[in-house]
Amino acid sequence: MIKNFMELSYLLAAVIFIVGLKWMASPKRARRGNALSAIGMLIAILVTLLDHQILSFRMLTVGIVVGSLLGLWMAKAVKMTAMPQMVGLLNGFGGGASLLVAAAEWYRLIQPGATMTTATAITIYASSLVGGVTIAGSVVAALKLQGWVVPDRPVLFPGRHALSIGLILTVIAMGVYLGYNPGTLWAFVVLNIASLILGIQLVIAIGGADQPVVICLLNSYSGIAAAMTGFVINNHGLIITGALVGASGIILTNIMCKAMNRSIWNVLFGGVGVVVAGSGGEKGAAMRAKGVRTITAEDTAALLGYGKLVIVVPGYGMAVAQAQHQVRELADLLHKRGVEVLYAIHPVAGRMPGHMNVLLAEANVPYEALLDLDQINPNFDRADVAIVIGANDVVNPAARHDTTSPIYGMPILDADLAQHIIVMKRSMNPGFAGIENELFYNSKTQMLFGDAKKSLLTLINEVRVLE
């Protein structure tokens, strides 16, 4: 009786998650969707307390309180600019929980008197694998995003593909061995360690600009890990819910890959970001010889202040300089002068899906002014100025015509169609992918060198003193 009630309650929770996720697709209902989904989670947690298998509530309660407080603290303390690594890290915790549940169940089932069926064994090993890859991968991704220990660029070493294959084979071999010799501790430990190394290996080879894809993929893994836990404890609610998250992660991964015109295999195993030598070569040298034109803040202010339409193209550089508030301030000033300001948001600008949107929303930029690729591109040819703030590859016209370029075929923002292009940039170092950007050498382009925040502050003052 209780068991049936629990099953149905989990189903209810899963249905609530589905509706909540659906609501999250619209800006108006998204917040309610998230709250609804939290209610679903509360139901699932409360119902689990009824489980007659649960004999001790002491550690359970302490665990819930400690975890909740830590989660609360993290969510309060995190800065909006640190959101990519926060999302990455939270992902890891879910994966870690799956890994630990699998280990605890395995340990319980190898005790004398307990029996482990082959089916359960398979689910436990699958759960360890996915959970291990998720936690290790997420931690590496978060470290990369934070810039700690692990560099932002791809870390590639010879034989890494062989290592990956070796690790996968190790996991399979240990699984089979455990099938015949259940309860072999060393084999289970090896299986778990191999899964963890596989997670590190998968993410460490991926460069900063490809991080949005990794975040989506890890998100998907965390869902699949949850579903695997559902298999281990034989709970359909968990399986459904995990599968939903898995699917949403796959969809986002797909969107990100399309936005870069690359396949998921290429992102995972291509190691873009070390192609510098290839494309930078002769053509790059010829371009560099031509040189770039620079512009002063004063002249930029005049261009912006007397224009009709200004399109802001933000990129990771804006995030690094944390210049979103200054961008908004500048836009406000221009607005007062009667200049229309729009924002061009590339799907993979920044380090996580929708990164620019979150930063600009934090600076109170109305979301109606944030236009995506298809919406903004028809507007560039009527724009007086396109002001590129720390974006690079997403505005490189080489993606349209240069078949030798690693970003060839990637849909880009047509900033080069504007009357004037102002590029705000720290220095002439090529962008993340190490690809020379043709836009910088365009005759309509002028560079405003310096830290984005400082340049914007100067610019704001210059616009203020305009007639």
Partner: protein, 101 residues
């Protein structure tokens, strides 16, 4: 038990398709909140973690379960609150970011 596995696989595959249907047209504006909201939902592993820690089969398993509960709760609480903070900013831009949990 094998029946349970097969049933589970059926449910899993169908639920994946439901997921694909539900989450197709998400505007890029909301990609970050969706990622972090979905991530909070993946904290449903809390259910498994609770069961494991509550069963007190052995001290070792309990410790593993305890850590699992802590991890999953961080995922759940942190995930939902962070998502809400972000979505509050998209709302009307009136509220102080992070003012309301």
């Amino acid at each position: 038990m094998t029946d349970a596995l097969i049933n589970g696989i059926v449910v899993f595959v169908l639920a994946m398709f439901v997921g694909f249907e539900v989450i197709t047209k998400v505007p890029s504006l909301l990609h970050t909140p969706l990622t972090s909201g979905a991530n909070a939902i993946s904290g449903i592993t809390i259910v498994g973690s609770m069961t494991v820690v509550g069963m007190v089969s052995s001290e070792f398993a309990s410790i593993l379960g305890f850590v699992a509960v802590v991890f999953a709760m961080i995922n759940v609480v942190g995930g939902y609150l962070v998502t809400d903070r972000m979505l509050a900013m998209f709302g009307g831009a009136k509220k102080e970011p992070g003012a309301k949990p």
